[in-house]
Symmetry: C2
Subunit: 335 residues, 2 copies
């Protein structure tokens, strides 16, 4: 990934000096990610091949590039200033604007952030076009289509953050399925398998494992957002609450709360200026109203589904264990 970006920076430097941004701030942002999606592409490839190929690395890198670019746009929509323990791209430009005393630093930061995100998509698709002819059409089609789906899910998510309409449990789970499941897990699993020349049947099982595992990951992300501390997560405390994200926690919390409690919650959720004690109140209520238990029940059901599908793959014990370990990792992780 670094090699590709350095090459690109050289190549694009004839356009203008913003190209330096590719190997500095943009790369810094990229490399501080968990790189789960890229790793999963490689891991999936390794389920079927003995060694990682150069092509698999290109594919994994392209996925990371595109993913980071989606996050850059996501942070603009969520008005987040921190991500991956550092300033978001838009925020970095807001500060440039402040230094240079531009009239509207917020808008400048967002505009440049939109552009950097777009740039990342195009760099990602360029890297993707280095995949050999045999697999390129199929891979490019799949990547684009899943990205379309995740963008539609993102629109729902943005709308949900503004709207007072409540989403049903099913609706929330559907967003999780498309936004995290298919995109973050099914897609990398499928890509690795396609590049390893696997059958449609195997690819479909991996797709299904990814979807359900993804919902489990999103549920854990929500929990970390709610209970995690800023130093560990690299994100401001309670950002989902401030943004009024329609999470499963929020859903069960509202469902179980009294009229009086709902009134209190309405003051907190969607409020940009909440303090830590208000986040603490939400945390307490989540525990008191047994929201954690309800969500754990859903998680347990999904875990069983995933385990059954892993068996269907007929992998060797070692390889199945990799997938089971990944499930286990999600239960343990705090960021």
């Amino acid at each position: 990934l670094e090699k590709f970006l350095i090459e690109e920076q050289k190549n694009l430097s004839k356009v203008n000096s913003w190209s330096r941004f590719i190997t500095t701030n943009f790369f810094d942002f990229l490399k501080n990610g968990k790189m789960i999606r890229g790793s999963l592409v490689l891991q999936s490839f390794l389920f079927f091949e003995d060694n990682i190929s150069e092509e698999a690395i290109k594919l994994a890198s392209a996925i990371e590039l595109i993913h980071s670019s989606l996050l850059i746009h996501d942070d603009i929509m969520d008005k987040d200033s921190f991500r991956r323990g550092q300033k978001t791209i838009a925020q970095q430009f807001r500060e440039i604007a402040q230094e240079e005393k531009f009239q509207n630093s917020e808008h400048f930061g967002n505009s440049m952030g939109i552009s950097v995100g777009d740039l990342g998509f195009f760099l990602g698709f360029e890297l993707l076009s280095q995949i050999s002819k045999k697999y390129f059409n199929e891979i490019s089609f799949l990547v684009s289509q899943e990205l379309s789906k995740v963008t539609l899910a993102q629109m729902d998510d943005v709308y949900g953050g503004f709207s007072c309409h409540e989403y049903s449990k099913e609706k929330i789970l559907s967003i999780y399925r498309y936004k995290t499941g298919r995109y973050s897990l099914s897609l990398p699993f499928m890509l690795g398998a396609i590049l390893a020349g696997q059958s449609p049947k195997t690819i479909t099982i991996l797709e299904n494992i990814g979807e359900n595992m993804g919902v489990l990951f999103q549920i854990k992300d929500d929990k970390i957002n709610l209970f995690g501390e800023s130093e560990e997560t690299g994100k401001p405390v309670g950002s989902d609450i401030r943004e009024n994200k329609k999470t499963l926690y929020r859903h069960f919390l509202y469902e179980a709360s009294s009229k009086k409690q709902k009134k209190e919650l309405n003051i907190i959720f969607g409020n940009k200026d909440i303090n830590i004690s208000q986040v603490e109140n939400v945390r307490t209520l989540v525990k008191e109203l047994k929201v954690l238990e309800k969500i754990e029940k859903i998680s347990d059901q999904l875990t069983i589904l995933v385990k059954n599908k892993i068996e269907e793959l007929n992998f060797t014990e070692n390889k199945s264990q990799v997938l089971l370990d990944f499930l286990e990792y999600n239960l343990r992780r705090n960021k």
Copy 2:
């Protein structure tokens, strides 16, 4: 294009109901464009083939899809509410937000606009992935790389709109070359020729013609933005002035104006609330200070360059005439 979008809408409707947007508002926005880039892909293809193929139409449609998506992001950066004689996508969402009494309709509109733009990119790359294996890698590489370049040029453009630094004539022409020339003309010309199996030599000549023609088109666009009326252009009058766009007109205007005139211009350029009489003042000054003549001189030089390169193509007279007519069209057009 319409057929593809209807198919996609069906396919994506299982994600959520935002997919309906693809065949309604998004398609309305698409079809109201001039579709110059898509037409140029087809025209270039027809320089070498007798009939337009289904594949050429897919390629042309993909380019239009991606282009419209860039414009959707562009309009957010420029805070434009109108484009192609209708409300911009972000503006449509701002009004939805107002109807639904969301807290921050501006931010909601921008967020949804960012997503719709992203969606359009991905739909475009999906359509592109239907190109046959023989040409797909090369085409996908070229499209992505030119889009990276245009995005870097866009960053310069945004920065220029905020910054008080003046850009040199060369810098402005370089932005024109990358933002309009390479992207809007070289790229479609090259794509049509690649799909028609042409030699690198021919493709390079078309690339060069596109670059210089593109600068001519941008200069004309600037003129229309400055002198055109809203009903005709579909854009608010003087939007480049309000956004303090570093155009060639602005450059020569500042260069030729007295200290007193510069002071007046500083009040007008970059001012979001200018009225029609202030735009009129700029127009008068542009004429008085012979800015038009200076720019015409540059245009004339570029026209000669382009005509020489057209000869190098060794086309039949009919085919050369198509390119010459296109040059001519640019001189005449008022929108």
